[in-house]
């Protein structure tokens, strides 16, 4: 029996999420019996996967796959899964992985569970816990097909080192024109900023900041922490910040290590969207703001006074702890 994990890379480098899904795949393999095979596409160096329990690395290198294409990537993973007779296929929940997952599911006649947060107990009792109702609840889902696909929620499992003897193998999938029917015309990616999905720390601003001109201090705080910036729904609705920064139930979910909410009162939809974050900090003038009920740490105070002080203190802290 074998577990296949799709380990994503960007510009030839494995993503951190790739190491997390590899760690998780190892735990799944331990639970149901078997080894972990990884498949990667145009990744320059996969040595690190051996530190996270990967037994075999299938390495695809194909000029046609330079740009992400859901149908073609799903086909590569399908052929890899068939080659190693995978019983479970593990993917991340990046935008690309979520895009290709349903296509993969139909290709493999495999049940798919998204937003998974735990490991199935045994092969006979294949039930996983996943988040539902935008983190307002958990849902135990059983999968009944022979092959199963699990999409691991970002940051839900973490990195678990486990040394393995790893063999590498070049793998080329057979792809036809049919797999390239969607053309990527242009990619507009902010390369010098960390994305909300990949961020360890997210700094988020709300209506309490009063004006889009005041976002400088949010950006500064994010810079000190190496964080992504985000915002509440009203802020994106008013056009103060782009939609891509809106976090919450109808925006992006956040599962960072640290989430700092500044001038955000904490509507139920916002709190649902960020509840998977591990540590939450709120800074707000109103001590009755619902966010104080959801946060781990809070400061009742004026953001315009607190945030600049916080930035200075964090700079000192970073200098001393570098």
């Amino acid at each position: 029996m074998s577990v296949l994990v799709y380990t994503e890379s960007e510009n030839g480098k494995l993503k951190k999420a790739a190491l997390e899904v590899a760690s998780y795949a190892k735990a799944v393999a331990d639970a149901i019996g078997g080894n972990v095979t990884a498949v990667s596409i145009n990744s320059d160096n996969n040595d690190d996967l051996a530190n996270y329990g990967v037994h075999k690395s299938l390495e695809v290198s194909d000029e046609k796959l330079q740009k992400f294409n859901a149908d073609a990537y799903a086909e590569v993973i399908t052929q890899a899964a068939k080659k190693v007779d995978a019983k479970v296929v593990v993917i991340s929940q990046s935008a690309n992985a979520k895009y290709l997952a349903p296509l993969l599911s139909i290709n493999l006649n495999a049940a798919y569970a998204s937003n998974v947060v735990d490991v199935p107990k045994t092969d006979n009792e294949f039930t996983v816990e996943r988040t539902a109702f935008t983190n307002k609840a958990f849902n135990h889902t059983s999968l009944s097909t022979d092959v199963k696909i699990l999409g691991l929620s970002n940051n839900a499992f973490g990195l678990k080192e486990s040394k393995a003897e790893m063999t590498k193998e070049d793998f080329s999938a057979e792809l036809g024109d049919d797999h390239f029917k969607i053309n990527v015309e242009s990619v507009d990616k902010n390369t010098d900023k960390v994305s909300i999905a990949d961020a360890e720390v997210v700094v988020s601003g709300g209506r309490g900041l009063k004006d889009p001109k005041n976002w400088g201090m949010i950006e500064d705080l994010a810079d000190v922490l190496g964080a992504a910036t985000a915002c509440s729904k009203p802020v994106s609705d008013m056009g103060w910040r782009p939609h891509s920064e809106h976090v919450g139930q109808t925006g992006k979910p956040v599962a960072s290590n640290l989430y700092i909410a500044i001038g955000i009162s904490g509507a139920i939809q916002h709190l649902a969207g960020i509840s998977a974050s591990k540590t939450k900090v709120v800074i707000n003038t109103d001590d009755e703001a619902p966010f104080f009920k959801a946060a781990d740490y809070g400061i009742v105070g004026d953001a315009f006074e607190v945030v600049p002080k916080l930035i200075e203190k964090l700079k000192d802290f970073k200098a001393n702890n570098a």
Binding site: A70, A95, K98, Y99, A101, P102, L103, S105, I106, Y112, A113, S114, A132, F133, N135, K136, A137, F138, N139, H140, T141, L143, S144, T145, K181, I182, N183, V184, E185, V187, D188, K189, T191, S195, I196, D198, V201, L225, D237, H243, S244, Q249, T250, G251, L258, I268, K278, V281, F292, K293, A294, A295, D296, Y297, I299, K309, L310, L314, F317, N321
Partner: protein, 248 residues
Amino acid sequence: MKILVCISHVPDTTSKINFTENDTKFDTNGVQFVINPNDEFGLTRAMWFKEKQGATVDVVTVGDKSTEPTIRKALAIGADSAIRVDAEPLDGFQVAKELAKVAQDGSYDLIIAGRESIDYNGGMVPGMLAKLIGANFINTCVSLEVEDDKATAVREIDGGKETLTANLPLVIGGQKGLVEESDLKIPNMRGIMMARKKPLKVVEPVAETPLTKAEKFEKPAPKGEVKLVDADNIDELIDLLHNEAKAI
């Protein structure tokens, strides 16, 4: 252009989430149901294609009779006709199979669904549907234009956007950005009156077996009290984040 908009009937975003029957079923008691927000952005975009490009717009849902007010609302917003597949939706695959039958019977050029429903958050129906009927698929779609049989779409990716082109037939997983929040339409009285006369066809399901089963639900454990730090004592916050939470 023939457009099909797939509608999921979901609890309003402000709903309190509770479960019944030994935590195996969502408790609908006192819950207001709405058009899934991700679907509503797509429905509103479909109205634009109807007004500007003369498209016809059908809406479909998979659900029992209790979902009818939700699809009537889609008719009141301006869809031409509605289809209800008379089956209890049990998992994403089963719903995709039911929708695939409706899509094939109606030979649609463009099928608009939401990237995920806000209740089960499966995020799989649009992609499965596309694959089942052999149509192109674009997910997390935030902008969509159609010229003749060619679509240009913008897809949200982690940390940016990507512009894609594809031929019809096309299925999209839509979300906010397809139209602005302020473009969403509240049905007016005329729309509501007209919706009563518009056709709502109930079709028998193909009765596909689901691949997954929601066995049980649970709510997150209640949170501990917030630790308040004085606004003049930022050092304490940094100390807590570093030594207690190990977050920095």
